[in-house]
Symmetry: none
Subunit: 214 residues, 4 copies
DNA sequence: AATGAATGAGCATTCATTCAT
DNA sequence: AATGAATGAATGCTCATTCAT
């Protein structure tokens, strides 16, 4: 009786609500943490009734399990876009860390979604970590081949990637911890952070360090 | 036997219960997370009545605020003891990471206590981070002076320390994530991890990396 | 039958539950006092789940703060209805006290709700007292004007009203104290009480009392 | 071995602790109400250990049951002393109400002890009421005989006494309710209250009230 | 007799989930 | 599909009372 237009709008509306719920959840988790992200708050923020939630997600946990992947993909895309433009390992690595810090500043809720996911959505966190690590490993392998550098085992590269991710996350934590630092002009602060990170990456900071035997 | 014995046993018993509660909390948080660490579970694990809890801590939050600092101090001491024996930066650094991984294996709850503290006991987490960083900075400064190395600003050392801590914590996360890896002979797994960590520290993994301009 | 019926029944049901909770509260407070009026008991008596309570009241205290005012209004209405029919001050006053005693007999919980409110819901008690006093003062003023009696200051009338309320409440206490008296045919007991009250009101009991100087 | 002095001091000390507990209880109830009068608070105020309490009272309720009688006797004595000096019904009645208001001002906790006793120590409250009423009845009977007034049945006098007590208690409530009134120079405020009370007692306020038939 | 730590029952409140409309 | 009221299990905390010392 009613035409396709309506049918499509039904499906669209449905998808819109689902998206609204996810976005509301990111906002709410960013502000109150997963623990404070009650269905009541999420649905209120998405402007639907509580019961509606369960037409789109089986449970609160199921929603949580979609949160990090959803926003994580955004981050990966945004970083990848900025890295693509650069040439050479160092330049690309610098673009990566800088883009990461920028992403955190533009998405204030992300840090919390990421960190607390390890607790509240462990499966999602593992998945996200695996994604991140795999992508990074691929990138690094490509760099090394391009540079004609000696091969390193995948397992070793993987460990390296974990270290790099850890380093950059703790730098982010450091920035997030101090309200002063956060209040400072983000750009300038980030510059220093990036510089130090790059020195470490290049082995500069410790390159005078003697070997065990030495 | 009479007087002294009794007097001591009162204070001792009291101290024993407090310790039992803290240890129970670590265990419970390790298994169920802070969110699942109910007073009922903690006191059950410590084998005291629920009400007893409140003779030792004003509230659940107060316990949480002591958890990381107290167990963190244990860790620092244990690591420091092992590092003291070594000479030279690399050897000491290696002792540090190895001792850390060992500590994690003997204290299975610690990793979760540390991670979730950022969410559930932020003040305690900040305090712990500051302790860790300050101690590490002090150690690194001493190393550099001993080595006659060029001075680096405190602020830069601090960032480096965050990176080192991040690197090692993510390596720990990597080990904790995979039950297989965890189940593997810890020693052997740790050896590989330590080796990679040390290569990175010495700048070996990336020392062929050309500069931005390169 | 369909639409209207359903729409009404929703609102009706909601109102019915709210009323059930209030009535249950009166019953429970009447039997166990405010201190013993736990949410568990109240909801059990109202035959709803504990959680339902919080759909209607923000907290136990909020319920308590509505209890006396709401039931107090009932009482005022009931008494006013009976007083309206009478002519003349004495007749009206007699109707008032008699209606009050009757109300107490039909609402066995009210006495305790009123008395303990001073402790457990002081704001509500103050409000109720102010309502009662204000209404009574208005009534008395009207009587006096009708009777052409000399004016008395409002402040003095207010004190008089407190005395009258105190007198009638202590008479009620006297009746409530003795299980025997309570068990006796209320009507006969009340008759005596009313008679004495009215004698006092008319100044008959003490009209032979000489002045201070006498 | 030790002499009588010591033996006496033992009993004295014991009695002193008991008294300290009772006085502490009055203070604490005055400030926090019966509900807030925890054993912890009472023993802290009496400066003894919690366990000590149970060497002197079987339970918290037993202590409560002694509270009103204890302080009630004080009141009765103080009022009786002041009434004795006066001659004539009106003068004595005026002394009674004035002494009562004065007692309340000097013993700020009493009002609460008395009021809440009806809830928290009903037996004690009943006993106290009976004491008060019996004493008052006796006094009134004596007055009437002295005045050669017609006899009134005991049961009627008893009701009158309840009314008088109710009137004076509500006047006290009125004074206690308003912080302004409380802050005002007590004497002046009390004077007005006493005057109105006496007018009512003498039947003055309503003496122009026509009978039912009138 | 005095102590104060230990006990555990009891309570108000929250919130994910269900379900009748 | 949307609603929002109803549900009830779970939780942190209090406090009168007990009891070992």
């Amino acid at each position: 009786m009613r035409r396709g237009g309506t049918r499509v709008s039904r499906a669209e509306k449905s998808e819109a609500i689902r998206r609204a719920l996810l976005e509301a959840a990111v906002t709410v988790v960013g502000r109150f943490g997963y623990a404070g992200a009650s269905i009541a708050r999420i649905t209120m923020s998405a402007e639907v009734a509580q019961g509606t939630f369960y037409n789109y997600f089986e449970s609160r946990d199921e929603l949580f399990s979609h949160l990090l992947p959803e926003i994580g993909k955004l981050m990966v895309t945004e970083i990848a876009d900025k890295v693509r433009a650069e040439k050479g390992f160092a330049a690309r690595e610098e673009a990566r860390i800088r883009a990461y810090l920028q992403f955190l500043r533009s998405n204030p809720g992300f840090y919390r979604v990421l960190r607390e996911a390890e607790t509240f959505a462990p499966e999602a966190h593992r998945e996200h970590m695996n994604n991140m690590v795999a992508g990074y490993v691929r990138a690094l392998r490509a760099e090394r081949q391009r540079a004609g550098a000696p091969r390193v085992s995948d397992s070793e590269i993987e460990k390296m990637v974990y270290m790099l991710l850890g380093a950059r996350d703790y730098l982010a934590m450091r920035l997030s911890v101090s309200p002063q630092r956060a209040a400072m002009a983000g750009g300038a602060t980030d510059d220093e952070t990036v510089r130090t990170y790059m020195r470490a990456i290049r082995g500069g900071l410790f390159d005078d360090v003697p070997d065990r035997a030495g």
